[in-house]
Subunit: 239 residues, 2 copies
């Protein structure tokens, strides 16, 4: 009906099997899987058509027999790495359900940190990714809310998850490459006095290693606070 970009078919259409001609030497799954492997290891920056083809033992241009372009490849990577939405036990109540959903989302994002880099741009969402959204809505289905406010809440929680995951991944990356700021830096430039609170923190905890020990706890803590707040609000207004 609409003049959809060709990639939409790859995400939503049936996998078509040609009858004529030579048997394809690669497959979409193979390509996308390898691309994800590269991204997991080196970040999206490492996913280039030549590099990907090399790993697959194919010529660069061969990839274009399977994928219309790199953007579509990225879409497929997201769709695949996202995986199926979790089965939530909605019967147990909205709060455990959305909590499980949030944790599951976080797990995916941390397993494939590059997703945080690419989900930014507007893109076609595939069935799997939409499935997660559906699951989030389902988790909140029991709440006495109109569809749109419920959608808002889902995005709110999703935004929280993404934001904190981004913060963590960023922090880990930074720790890997050396601290992004140190007391020395501030002192050298005579700016230490401008950042007393920060100095205090740095004295307590030098950013020389990833603070991932406490990341899970921080995430869970913040999520609980957010849900507490939502619960309170719902209770207040009985909306």
């Amino acid at each position: 009906m609409s003049e959809q970009r060709p990639g939409v078919e790859l995400l939503w259409g049936e996998p078509k099997r040609p009858s004529r001609g030579p048997r394809p030497g690669l497959s979409l799954d193979l390509i996308v899987g390898e691309a994800i492997a590269i991204a997991d290891a080196e970040g999206v920056g490492g996913v280039t058509m030549p590099a990907l083809a090399r790993r697959l033992g194919a010529g660069t241009m061969s990839l274009y027999r399977y994928v219309p372009g790199k953007d579509d490849l990225i879409s497929l990577m997201i769709e695949t790495a996202t995986g199926d939405a979790p089965d939530l036990d909605v019967a147990a109540g909205w709060r455990p359900a959305i909590t499980a959903w949030a944790h599951a989302t976080r797990t995916i994002l941390l397993a494939h940190p590059w997703m945080l880099d690419v989900v930014t741009s507007p893109r076609v969402m595939g069935p799997r990714e939409l499935g997660w959204l559906e699951a989030g809505l389902e988790a909140l289905a029991a709440l006495p809310l109109a569809p749109m406010p419920r959608f808002d809440l889902t995005l709110l929680v999703n935004g929280y998850v993404r934001g904190v995951a981004l913060e963590q991944v960023h922090g880990e990356e930074v720790a890997r490459q050396g601290p992004f700021f140190t007391p020395e830096l501030l002192t050298e430039h005579g700016r230490a006095a401008d950042f007393p609170r920060l100095m205090e923190v740095m004295e307590t905890f030098p950013f020389t290693e990833a603070p991932s020990a406490g990341e899970d706890a921080r995430f869970a803590f913040g999520l609980e606070r957010l849900l507490d707040g939502i619960e309170t609000h719902l209770g207040d207004t009985t909306v």
Copy 2:
């Protein structure tokens, strides 16, 4: 002391003025300002050395007399666009202070949406950006917390702000380029039955325009919830 990348000096060092040679035809401020203008208008993707030089009426390679490389340019763009941290009225209490901080952060991010695309990668933070972190810590200074938990809370709120801003910018982008999914798409592919909750939402609110009307409210709402939760938690444990 450390073998810092040359760009660190640009962010933290004094602007040095050479005495010999011809007067520079451009300036760092000019270049960075123009780069920000491009990014605001077209996104970071539009910021290329040739394009930037063209706008400045200079040769491409001339830019490298002012900036070591593109990465450093991006760092400078962030530092400049970030602006100075707001003066917070800490005396009024931690909650108004951190609320103002969160809103100010959000305002910056929405004014320069490209920042959401680039803050991902680990990079050197400049004094201005650090100033924001300092301000966030200062806002929470009155809370009976150790430095590190206070730092955690600051990052938590920051993560929330970023996440929701990302969600919003993404949504607006999508609205500009056409809806990323429609009831038709689902129906065409016979998948409508798999997404009942989503269909319900789409019937209520077709994603044909940016839902920005309610974005501010949603953000403020979520923030209040998060702070409610924090407040409750602090009250509970009196930590």
